[in-house]
């Protein structure tokens, strides 16, 4: 973000070295500017010259828009013959008085290419309508300056969210290229963070846990990509306002819709279509509505009579409005997936609605929200015995933040009340309550203080108290106090050291998050927990790059799947489907990043990790996700309206169990690499813009190996896998 600020300053400097309304300028410079403005000689003695006749003046009025979107540009500086006169208002309008005659009207705004037009204020021309061309790579719509944080998060925004190669345009998929992340079995969007199980990392949208991130069968994210404003990824040591996950957090925020006019965008791809409309609300505020519908099932049905029907849809709505001092935000989103075969039906569906109010109070900001949710899942989990789960939930949240000169305080509470109603044909009494009707009450209070001790040290101590109650066949309640600490020490202006650590807890979980299958097993397995510690050093402006190295150690108690080999005999409702295990993960993460504003931009991430499990029976072995080396290189390059991108991924294989006559042994899958390519071309018209893009995921045709089979003792194991290439061709139009 500081890069954006610097860019803004540079633009101002170039455009107006001595602004007319910038206070008392240097006398000499001022006289030179005045002389130039009047067209006279600055060195001529003014005392002897007769007073010039007054120059007739006229008015220059107009409106400035962002080219291609009909969005007004607020705060653009308007200059006439290099004199900055005014800034555009929030509707992009300006109205200035200027001498008659041909004048050079300059328009500049951060994130846009400067524009100069020639106008005569006295020519009686209609109001000027100018359209500024967005600068490639700029975040564009708003610039928020963040103070240096003590946490070790990585933030993605703008094009990084939408155009990272290999993501098919889905912001959540960009996570797989970040340090600390293991993609369990590409192309499935299942991520293990720092040695934990995929279900141990939480995904939040505006602080609401998102129960499912992606649609079935390599489908897109359940949230429209243009709904996102930015996304923070914490591989560990996440803030106390979040909880109930023992590994990392992905916290995404939605964008407030513009309130100037109606805007819309449409996306059409080979396999689905989506649209988003934003509009001002009568009386103030704005609303954004988005949705997506897949025609994959229809295409499959047309092409063959396989009996397979696949379909999905999702929707999102955000409305913002101010009532007096209070600002209200309504966020509604939901998703549905259905996969029907001749023998089974698999469906996942959820809805969420959240209303948040923010009110200034006592020198700070009071934020209160409540979200309600409804989930429904149906899956054949035991051979041919289906189970369906319906769940309703309420998630209240209250926080008060108050910044002071040296300390930013935050106090908060968040809760989750949920009722699960599973239906299964299995009439079975078990201790695992995954298939049992149950009520869950999760409550937490937290306190946080960002302490700025001098100009170089920021320390953030935090405390979170979690209470877990699960009432099913047995009523169980547990509480856990989780202290957390993060700190940032600026060794120099460009070099920092960060540390973070703490304790985190979570209810038992399945390896993957499935709506309706959360919050169970407290009596049988107890809480999952982790102690985390990380220490990192980083530098900025390192040959134009930001670079950091972070070492971490995470000590877990996790619920693992006891038998990772999938067979039809696996029974997820058996008491021992999961097993409580001690686990340890440690390693180092390297991130080198070049800002998005650069013509050549992107990042390189490297993760070196060891992930161990206490497997029992005298064995400490690798976890199922233990990949020693993971390297991602994500690059983008802008050239003549095009943006070419590429992502190269490499990982050393994870361990799998291989059976032979002597039992089973852990063997490593072979290393895997792939290259993804993407090309974008943006066509900007006056009032709308069209993006065409083509993406080829796995352009190297690499074969993903997911298992090894020992056919003959002593022989090389047979590699079981598949080769998937995902082409995507799409058009995005917005106005």
């Amino acid at each position: 973000m500081s890069v954006t600020v610097a860019l803004f300053a540079a633009l101002l400097f170039q455009a107006s070295p001595a602004p007319a309304d910038a206070g008392a300028p240097d006398a000499g410079d001022a006289s030179a500017v005045d002389a130039a403005r009047d067209g006279g000689d600055a060195s001529a003695p003014s005392a002897v010259a007769p007073p010039p006749p007054p120059v007739p003046r006229g008015r220059l009025a107009g409106r400035v828009f962002a080219r291609g979107s009909r969005k007004p540009v607020a705060g653009a500086s308007v200059t006439v013959d290099l004199d900055e006169l005014v800034e555009t208002d929030r509707e992009g309008r300006f109205d200035v008085e200027a001498p008659c005659g041909a004048r050079h009207v300059g328009l500049q705004a951060p994130g846009f290419e400067p524009l100069t037009l020639e106008r005569d204020p006295c020519a009686g021309a209609p109001p000027l309508v100018a359209r500024l061309v967005p600068r490639p790579g700029a975040a564009g719509y708003e610039t928020v300056v963040h103070a240096a944080t003590s946490r070790q998060e990585m933030r993605l925004q703008g094009e990084e969210l939408l155009r990272t190669p290999g993501t098919l345009g889905d912001p959540f998929r960009a996570v797989e290229s970040l340090p600390g992340v293991t993609a369990v079995a590409w192309p499935a969007p299942i991520y293990a963070v720092r040695g934990s199980n995929p279900g141990d990392t939480g995904f939040f949208l505006d602080e609401i846990p998102v129960p499912a991130l992606f649609h079935f069968a390599l489908g897109p994210s359940v949230i429209h990509p243009y709904f996102f404003q930015d996304l923070d990824f914490y591989a560990g040591g996440y803030p106390a306002r979040y909880g109930r996950y023992v590994a990392g957090i992905v916290a995404a925020r939605t964008r407030q819709a513009p309130d100037d006019d109606v805007h819309a965008s449409v996306d059409v791809r080979l396999f689905d279509a989506g649209a988003m409309v934003t509009a001002p609300l009568p009386g103030g505020g704005s609303v954004a509505v988005a949705g997506r519908y897949s025609f994959t099932g229809s295409v499959i049905g047309l092409l063959s009579d396989t009996g397979v029907d696949l379909g999905y849809w999702d929707y999102q709505l955000r409305a913002d409005r101010t009532f007096g001092p209070a600002r209200l935000t309504l966020l509604v989103f939901g998703s549905s997936d259905t996969l029907t075969t001749r023998s089974n039906t698999l469906s996942l569906r959820f809805h969420r609605a959240k209303l948040r109010a923010e009110i200034p109070a006592a020198g700070g900001l009071l934020s209160a929200s409540v979200a309600v949710g409804a989930d429904h899942s149906q899956a054949p989990i035991v051979d041919q015995v289906p189970i369906s789960v319906s769940a309703v939930s309420a998630l209240p949240r209250l926080s008060f933040t108050r910044p002071t000169k040296h300390v930013d305080f935050e106090l908060g509470f968040d809760g989750k009340l949920e009722h699960f109603d599973p239906v299964t044909m299995l009439d079975r009494v078990t201790a695992i309550d995954l298939g049992q009707r149950r009520d869950v009450r999760l409550l937490a209070g937290y306190a946080s203080a960002i302490v700025r001790a001098g100009s170089r040290l920021v320390v953030t101590p935090e405390l979170r108290l979690d209470s877990y109650t699960v009432n099913s066949t047995t009523d169980t309640q547990k509480a856990d106090l989780g202290p957390r600490l993060s700190a940032r020490l600026a060794v120099t202006d460009q070099t920092w050291i960060k540390l973070s650590g703490g304790r985190f807890t979570q209810l038992p979980s399945l390896p993957l998050q499935v709506p309706g299958t959360e919050d169970f097993g407290l009596a049988l397995y107890g809480l999952q927990s982790s102690w985390q510690g990380a220490l990192g050093v980083g530098t900025t402006r390192f040959w134009g790059l930001d670079a950091s190295v972070t070492g971490y150690v995470q000590r877990y108690v996790l619920t693992d799947v006891r038998d990772p080999v999938l067979t039809s005999a696996i029974d997820p409702l058996a008491d021992d489907y999961l097993v409580r295990r001690d686990a340890l993960a440690y390693g180092a993460e390297v991130l080198v990043r070049r800002a998005l504003t650069e013509r050549l931009h992107g990042w390189l991430s490297y993760t070196l990790s060891w992930n161990e499990r206490a497997l029992g029976g005298g064995v400490i072995g690798p976890s199922d996700w233990d990949q020693r080396h993971v390297v991602n290189l994500v690059l983008g390059y802008r050239w003549r309206g095009f943006t070419f991108g590429g992502r190269a991924h490499f990982n050393t294989g994870r361990p799998v169990l291989v059976s032979d006559s002597a039992g089973e042994t852990f063997q490593r899958l072979p290393p895997f690499y792939q290259i993804d390519l993407r090309a974008d071309r943006r066509f900007i018209f006056d009032k709308f813009a069209i993006d065409g893009y083509f993406e080829l995921v796995n352009a190297t045709l690499s074969r993903q190996i997911v298992g090894l089979t020992q056919s003959m003792p002593g022989a090389a194991p047979k590699e079981d896998g598949f080769r998937i290439v995902l082409p995507s061709l799409g058009v995005h139009a917005e106005f």
Partner: protein, 584 residues
């Protein structure tokens, strides 16, 4: 750059490297400490006799008469080439007893056929003579590009104590007498002189403990107790008495014979042909008592029976007779059933036009039960046949449980609990399994009691000494089940364990492999108490278990009972290998 400056830089570089080394060392130390915190799991209870993970199965087999049972380990050796099959390797382990240390397994035989090839008992136990020597086969299979053919293997005798091996040459089968002092094997028939012409049967060979061999020229051979009986192709029933070497001609005109063990000792059922054109429909049957060596003629209706079922006491014989056509298939017509009292030499006769299943004696009672059409019929001795409920609606009863004599056998219907108080039957089919129900045999009209819940199947039923049942119910994997103690009288059940399978039952407790992992086949060997459900873990990742029969006849898992088990973790573990524990 001056020399001093260079030295300063070098010193700083060294200091930097030193700091890096220190940081690296600290990191490694931290990780090591953290790793050291990981708990590798509990050490198995008992004595770790043999390390390693090669063995697949442990057995406690009979030793020499009077000697304790012997520990055997076996493993499958891969086929050396595509024209061979995997073979078996046997190793013996000398148990030093409580307080003894580790020992080693001695390989005593390799290249043996896998055990399924010449099974002679339902449990497929290894034939062992009175000196503790094992009899096994080799090379019973011929593998070609087209097929795998089972044929005559080579019979070998292995002495586990010495490792010496004796080769008896090709043989088709082997039997051991009751006192294990004599074995008999059947050499293959001679090769036919020309294709299509029959070969000539070779006489059986009887081998005594001292390797004295006696030829037994018969087409069949079966031990009745310790005497060997056989039938020649010209209808002579031969006998080779225990300790004798002279073959006696016991009876003539015998068409077929078989041995039945009864409460009164072994009995031979002899059938003589009356009309050679109707081999089964025109035969008369008599009994030959193997103990008294006297033949017992039967009353006319009983003698014409085609099926003979002796009561457990040996006093009664139930027979069925239904007309057969020349193709030896039942014809439509009347079926005649009889109950013959061997003491009074009286017979009771009943007839029916319905299809009748093979009769079965109710344990502890002098009652015959059988299906008659859709009805279940009870026929007490001295009474009349009477309806006792509905016949099972399921065509075949599921095979239940591991091959253990402790498991309720479901062979032949109706199936009774050992005390005869209840009938166990498949009541109805649902999804992939059957609902198994109990029916009171004293009051067949009493409500049925279902042993499994809907959507679950019954994996095994273990009758316990107090008359209750240990029932294992499963969802999708019969070895991963929930165990219940069922009181059939009170019609209640109580769960004592989940997620595993029972391997042996005692009076008050059972041994189970809990947390069963199908892939690799192992579980946590656990003692489960019937009364409380309390569990005592013996070892994790146990792949094979052998229980030494307790001296306490009423409690197979009495305190001190020796249990051998193989730990074979999914991946190599220091705990892998053979362990032995005397049960607490």
């Amino acid at each position: 750059m001056t020399r001093a400056a260079r030295e300063t830089l070098v010193a700083r570089a060294h200091m930097g490297r030193g700091r890096m080394r220190s940081a690296l060392l600290a990191g490694v130390l931290l990780a090591t400490l953290a790793a050291g915190c990981l708990d590798a799991g509990p050490t198995p209870l008992g004595r770790h006799l043999v390390t390693g993970r090669a063995s697949e199965q442990v057995q406690l087999v009979d030793g020499a008469v009077g000697a304790p049972r012997r520990l055997l380990l076996s493993r499958t050796l891969p086929a050396p080439n595509e024209f061979a099959l995997p073979t078996l390797e046997l190793s013996a382990v000398d148990d030093p007893g409580p307080g003894g240390g580790a020992t080693e397994a001695r390989v005593i035989a390799t290249g043996l056929d896998l055990p399924f090839s010449h099974c002679t008992t339902p449990e497929c136990t290894t034939p062992i003579d009175a000196l503790g020597r094992l009899y096994q086969f080799r090379d019973s299979y011929t593998v070609t590009a087209q097929a795998v053919t089972f044929g005559n293997g080579t019979l070998v005798r292995v002495d586990p104590a010495t490792g010496t091996e004796h080769d008896f040459g090709p043989a088709q089968s082997i039997q051991v007498s009751a006192d294990r002092t004599r074995v008999v094997f059947e050499p293959p028939a001679t090769v036919p002189p020309s294709p299509g012409s029959p070969g000539v049967s070779a006489p059986f060979v009887v081998v005594d403990l001292d390797d004295t061999m006696t030829s037994f020229a018969a087409d069949t051979a079966s031990f009745a107790g310790n005497d060997l009986y056989g039938l020649t192709d010209d209808g002579h029933l031969l006998r080779l008495a225990r300790d004798g070497h002279a073959v006696e001609d016991v009876a003539t005109d015998i068409a077929s014979s078989y041995v039945v063990d009864t409460g009164r000792g072994a009995l031979l059922v002899l059938r003589r042909l009356v009309d050679s054109t109707m081999p089964n429909g025109a035969a008369v049957t008599s009994f030959l008592d193997a103990t008294t060596r006297t033949e017992e003629t039967l009353p006319p209706m009983t003698a014409q029976g085609t099926i003979f079922v002796l009561s457990p006491s040996g006093r009664y014989a139930a027979t069925e007779r239904f007309p057969l056509n020349p193709m030896n298939l039942p014809t439509d017509g009347t079926t005649t059933l009889t109950i013959y009292d061997r003491d009074t030499r009286q017979e009771m006769v009943s007839t029916t036009s319905e299809f009748v299943s093979q009769p079965k004696w109710r344990p502890g009672q002098d009652e015959v039960w059988f299906d008659e059409g859709a009805d279940l019929v009870r026929w007490p001795v001295g009474g009349q046949p009477e309806a006792a409920g509905h016949a099972s609606q399921i065509f075949s009863f599921p095979t239940l449980g591991p091959p253990s004599p402790q498991v309720l056998s479901t062979e032949g219907e109706p199936v009774f609990t050992p005390d005869g108080r209840f009938r166990v039957f498949a009541e109805r089919y649902q999804l992939n399994n059957e609902i198994i129900a109990l029916q009171s045999t004293d009051d067949p009209s009493a409500p049925l009691y279902e042993l499994n819940r809907p959507s679950m199947g019954v994996a095994a039923i273990w009758p316990l000494v107090d008359g209750s049942l240990l029932v294992e119910d499963f969802v999708s994997d019969s070895k991963k089940n929930d165990a219940y103690i069922v009181d059939p009288t009170a019609q209640t059940q109580r769960r004592i364990s989940t997620t595993g399978n029972v391997v042996a039952t005692g009076r008050d407790r059972c041994l189970a492999l809990l947390n069963w992992v199908a892939h690799g086949g192992s579980g946590d060997l656990t003692i489960v108490d019937y009364a409380t459900g309390a569990q005592t873990l013996i070892a994790q990742n146990v792949h094979s278990v052998a229980v030494d029969a307790s001296a306490d006849a009423g409690d197979a898992l009495a305190s001190g009972t020796r249990v051998a088990f193989l730990v074979r973790n999914r991946i190599a573990s220091p705990y892998d290998g053979l362990w032995v524990i005397e049960l607490p």
